[in-house]
């Protein structure tokens, strides 16, 4: 039979829309508007989960995000979501959930044996044992503990759903849509403020949905609907349902999670599963309500023991009666509503147990002034034992126990920035302490327990917030409501109760564990938490923390304020990591930057490599080439013998202008630029202020007051920022302007003995680039391909006669095609970063592997570039003894003694005959390449006293990859050491 516990009428569920779902494979039916928990209860399913440590059978404690017990694995396959709170899952047709953390089945969980072993397993037992023998920890104990621990299972595979992020700005953010929040939103909205109202539930109303009460002349839930309609009609009010505000951050920034499509089996096409919101709010109103506290007595975790106010949610909102015979146990007046509501729902209430000596008699109901000492039953509650204030014990058979220990205002979001909560003696609860700028707390979150107060202070806060944003506002008139009585007197635990009395349900922390922690000296609440794991479960101790610390206060004879509370941290509710990543996953982790010839290279079958954000052609394999080395060797040879073209647009390019541009560059670079002639390029080296090398590149002078600077691909943004720093912070007196033109120019290196021949076919005035018209390091503005403005630099990284051609990026594609066409008769090939790298190693140029932030100009053999005639960034610090120590490894070349040997970057140098230990470590190989010209591997590296050791054979040790090669120290310039080929 289906929905046996569903009431015949009432509730806010849609009986016209039955939904079918499964739990542990069994089929059930519920209604639209149910949560999974409500639907399970409607079907009489009480056992839903197992506890963390003892695998105790657990049911449903609450009706909201505070739920510690009813955790399930929702959905299946790649969409499996472990640890999902049944009380927050919105039912949909076809929903499938399974119990978790049990084996082999929920009913017959064999690990429940832990419960029997529990005497051996008090809090922190693992800190005292499992230490011998040492090797057993990783092999035996830890795997055992790990398998037993954990909760649900991850899917193990990639999450198939899509997430996104978005930003919203508003004047007033209202968090929570209970009576307080609705009134706040209404008041602020009416004033014309931009309001965002966030509600984590799928329905607005908060406790209005759960209580059988009236506001004005309608039912509370109907009042909420009316307000919702009014808000929806205001153009500047945005209602965000299914959206939990999860974090408060600095400056009025809030993080919120919208569960856009979690109420559907699969998100519709083009829609995300969830959306992460950054909400930037000038003012906020925290109207998050409160969470009821359980009472602490033996067996308080039995399925069937539920929070009193949550029971009202089930009865009133979901029209479910989770039992037939109930006892209500509470230390406050509010819980008496539960008595009334249960009775209205046809549940027999046997007694109200109230520990307060002065408790008033509730009408015709039996009042027992006393406490419940123990709840009985196995997988479901069967009865309770009661100890009267008069000392009389009695048992009452029941299948439902409603308990209430008072309320904890939901102040998490007020505490994220640090303001410590303050204890309120009358309410017996923590209230928000110093608030984040612009935040107000209202309603039950602020300790207002009466509906009238919530309505009033909600409205007032909304108006105040709007006024703070410059609007004229007035609080919304407060509808009339019946008075309510909320007196509470704390009962932190039932003394003399029998059986395990749980403080933290999910993590199985009992009163005994708290006592043990106290006994052992873990008395600070933070030690208590960390030692016993109290409050560390997926519910973050919403129902546990205050009971736990109050117990510790009692044990240590300190007051609760002296004892203090543990800190709330974001997120308020757990957030899927997918949502926090949004669009930025997989290939979209970071944007991809493409150089102008990318599409051409792709069509050509190039292999690409990620360099920073850029994707660059690494080599261009030809059909039949067996491996990368064949391709790269061919590319290098062809450049050296004929000509090649490489897209080097990724270099950072900075346009530097101004009357002081030269002076500025002099201070920036360690060498001098003010003396550079117009139309010439020069290699420059830049240090950091601490004297180590920062970057290098060629910079050309285009005019007396204009330079064109290049940086390495990797450092482009960093150098730009550094230059702005130098200009704005250090030397604002200089007249210099700089702007990145990196993307403006497609830049191609055309290298090889036939490079000029090729270029002459595409430049409009070929004579202008004849050898003497444009010698090495010359720079010229010219036109190519029939009038396209371009710039040609005669510079070379490869060591061949070479040029770099800059032209507007839109023509980058056309240019490479034209160059390939023009060069066909000269045997032109495109070459990639790999061949570029080989040729630079052959030429002994330093690059990224040498400019590693740990090297000085001197280390790299570039010390002579450091001018002694001027102040420049890094000059003074570069002179420190440690940086000019002659023992520092110096840049040099290496070639294998046995020419067949392969060299590897990262190998360390050890002198022959010395032991391979750190003491004898003399440096390391920074870069290697296979030189197709020389026919063997060559390397660059840093070696102690290298300059004095030319010709010496040292060991290049690579224990990591199991190799050692004898190498001869040599000049780093392997190819054309005199540099003749440059000049063509």
């Amino acid at each position: 039979m289906s929905q046996t516990s569903r009431l015949a009428s009432g509730g806010l569920v849609d009986r016209g829309r039955p939904l079918s779902f499964t739990f542990d494979g069994a089929r059930y039916e519920g209604f639209a508007g149910d949560t999974l928990a409500a639907a399970l209860l409607a079907n009489g399913q009480r056992l839903v989960g197992r506890s963390f440590k003892y695998h105790r059978p657990r049911g449903i404690l609450s009706a909201g995000p505070e739920e510690p017990n009813a955790l399930v694995e929702l959905r299946a396959g790649a969409r499996r979501e472990p640890n999902t709170k049944a009380t927050t899952i919105e039912l949909y047709d076809g929903l499938a959930a399974d119990s978790q953390h049990r084996w082999p089945s929920l009913k017959g969980d064999l690990l429940a044996v832990n419960s029997l072993l529990s005497p051996f397993l008090p809090a922190g037992f693992y800190y005292k044992t499992f230490m011998w023998p040492a090797s057993f920890w990783e092999k035996v104990y830890e795997p055992m503990i790990r398998r037993a621990a954990g909760l649900g299972r991850a899917s193990g595979v990639s999450d198939p759903d899509h997430y996104e992020k978005a930003t919203a700005h508003c004047d007033v953010l209202v968090i929570g849509s209970g009576p307080a929040g609705l009134m706040a939103a209404l008041s602020a909205g009416r004033a014309g403020a931009r309001v965002i109202l966030c509600e984590e539930d799928f329905r607005l109303g908060g406790r209005c949905l759960a209580e059988d009460r009236r506001i004005g002349d309608s039912r509370a839930s109907a009042w909420a609907e009316t307000v919702e309609r009014q808000l929806a009609a205001m153009p500047e009010v945005r209602i965000m349902r299914r959206t939990a505000v999860c974090g408060t951050y600095d400056g009025g920034a809030y993080l919120a999670l919208e569960r856009v499509n979690d109420h559907l089996p699969v998100p519709p096409a083009h829609e995300p599963r969830q959306r992460l919101w950054h909400i930037i709010a000038r003012q906020s109103v925290l109207a998050a309500g409160g969470v009821e506290r359980p009472l602490v007595f033996g067996g308080n975790d039995k399925p069937g023991v539920m929070l009193a106010a949550s029971l009202r949610s089930y009865v009133n909102r979901f029209a479910v009666a989770p039992g037939q015979r109930a006892v209500v146990f509470a230390n406050n007046d509010d819980a008496r509503r539960t008595v009334a509501d249960l009775r209205k729902a046809g549940v027999a209430v046997e007694a109200l147990v109230d520990p307060r000596p002065d408790a008033a008699k509730p009408g015709d109901l039996r009042l027992i002034q006393g406490v419940v000492t123990s709840a009985k039953g196995g997988r479901s509650l069967e009865g309770v034992e009661i100890l009267g204030g008069d000392g009389k014990a009695e048992s009452i058979a029941c299948d439902l126990l409603a308990m209430s220990g008072g309320w904890n205002p939901s102040i998490q979001l007020s505490n994220h920035l640090g303001g410590a909560p303050v204890w309120d003696e009358t309410l017996a609860a923590f209230l928000a302490g110093p608030l984040p700028a612009g935040m107000q707390v209202v309603g039950t979150a602020a300790g207002s327990l009466s509906l009238a107060d919530c309505l009033r202070n909600g409205g007032e806060a909304g108006a105040k917030a709007a006024e703070a944003c410059g609007f004229t506002a007035a609080p919304e008139p407060v509808p009339s409501v019946e008075r309510d009585s909320n007196a509470v007197s704390p009962l932190w635990r039932v003394k003399g109760s029998r059986g395990k009395a749980f403080v933290d349900f999910q993590n199985d922390v009992t009163t005994k564990d708290v006592e043990l922690a106290e006994r052992e000296g873990y008395r600070s609440v933070e030690h208590l938490k960390r030692y016993t794991t109290l409050g560390m479960a997926t519910d973050q101790g919403r129902t546990a923390n205050v009971n736990g610390l109050a117990l510790m206060a009692e044990l240590t004879r300190r007051s609760i304020p002296e004892t203090g509370a543990t800190r709330f941290r974001p997120p308020y509710a757990p957030i899927a990591i997918g949502a926090l990543a949004g669009h930025h996953r997989g290939k979209d982790f970071r944007p991809t930057r493409l150089p102008p010839s990318h599409q051409w290279a792709e069509a050509r079958g190039a292999v690409f490599v990620e360099t920073g954000m850029w994707l660059r052609a690494q080599w261009y394999p030809l059909p039949g080439e067996k491996d990368w080395q064949t391709s790269v060797d061919r590319e290098v040879k062809q450049v050296r013998e004929a000509v090649g073209v490489c897209d080097v647009s990724t270099l950072g390019k900075i346009d530097v202008q101004g009357t002081d541009a030269g002076a500025f560059l002099d201070r920036l670079y360690c060498n001098t630029f003010s003396t550079l002639a117009v139309g010439k390029a020069r290699y420059g080296l830049m240090l950091r202020e601490d004297g180590l090398v920062m970057d290098d590149g060629t910079t050309s002078r285009l005019a007396q007051d204009r330079f064109f600077m290049t940086t390495t691909t990797a450092n482009a943004a960093k150098v730009m920022q550094h230059m702005e720093f130098c200009h704005q912070v250090l030397w604002p007196e200089l007249d210099v302007q700089m702007v990145s033109v990196s993307e403006q120019w497609a830049q191609f290196s055309i290298a090889g003995p036939r490079s000029r021949d090729v270029l002459q076919r595409i430049v409009d005035a070929p004579d202008a680039i004849a050898n003497d018209a444009m010698p090495y390091l010359g720079v010229k503005d010219l036109t190519v391909l029939g009038g396209i403005r371009a710039r040609l630099f005669r510079i070379s990284f490869s060591g061949e006669m070479a040029y770099e051609l800059s032209l507007p990026a839109r023509y980058g594609d056309a240019a490479i095609r034209a160059l390939m066409e023009a060069g066909r008769e000269f045997g032109i090939i495109p070459y990639g970063t790999e061949a570029l790298g080989v040729m630079r190693v052959e030429k002994g140029h330093v690059a990224g592997n040498e400019l590693n932030g740990q090297t000085t100009a001197g280390d790299l053999g570039l010390g002579r570039m450091m001018s002694s005639k001027k102040d420049y960034i890094g000059r003074v610090m570069a002179g420190r003894p440690g940086l000019v120590d002659p023992d520092r490894p110096r840049f040099t070349g290496f070639k294998p003694v046995n020419k067949a040997d392969r060299l590897r970057a990262g190998a360390h140098f050890i002198a022959q005959g010395a032991e391979a230990t750190a003491k004898n470590d003399q440096g390391f190989m920074t870069s290697v390449a296979h030189s197709p010209i020389l026919g063997h591997w060559i390397g660059l590296g840093l070696l102690a006293h290298a300059t004095e050791r030319m010709g010496e054979v040292v060991r290049a040790c690579d224990p990591l990859r199991g190799g050692e090669v004898l190498v001869e120290v040599c000049d780093p310039v392997f190819y054309d050491p005199k540099g003749e080929r440059l000049h063509g």
């Binding site: 400056g251 920034a253 700028a437 601490d690 702005e724 704005q728 102040d871 000059r875 003074v876």
Partner: protein, 90 residues
């Protein structure tokens, strides 16, 4: 954290790059002669030593994703409350 760029308006701190203490001064042009410890110390103060106060801190931020201005932000580093944002340029 929200930084109100005097040029662009209020933005999240992710748009900015941070460069630490704004009160240290580069000893421009002072190249310490050998043994001139005071001159060298001025450089040490600039490059390495920091007050790192537990309170109000004047610090440099660069509006990297915005206007490229270097800014001096006055911020209480105990609670991130920003009391002033000024351009570094006079």
């Amino acid at each position: 954290m929200r930084i109100k760029c005097p040029y662009c308006g209020e933005r999240g701190n992710e748009e900015f790059a941070y460069h630490g203490d704004a009160t240290v001064k580069r000893p421009d042009g002072r190249i310490p002669a050998a043994g001139d410890d005071a001159a060298f110390q001025a450089w040490m103060d600039y490059v390495y030593l920091r007050d790192n106060p537990m309170g109000v801190h004047r610090e440099l931020w660069y509006h990297a994703s915005g206007c490229h201005a270097w800014l001096v932000v006055t911020r209480d580093v105990r609670n991130h409350a920003i009391s002033a944002v000024e351009p570094v340029k006079p």
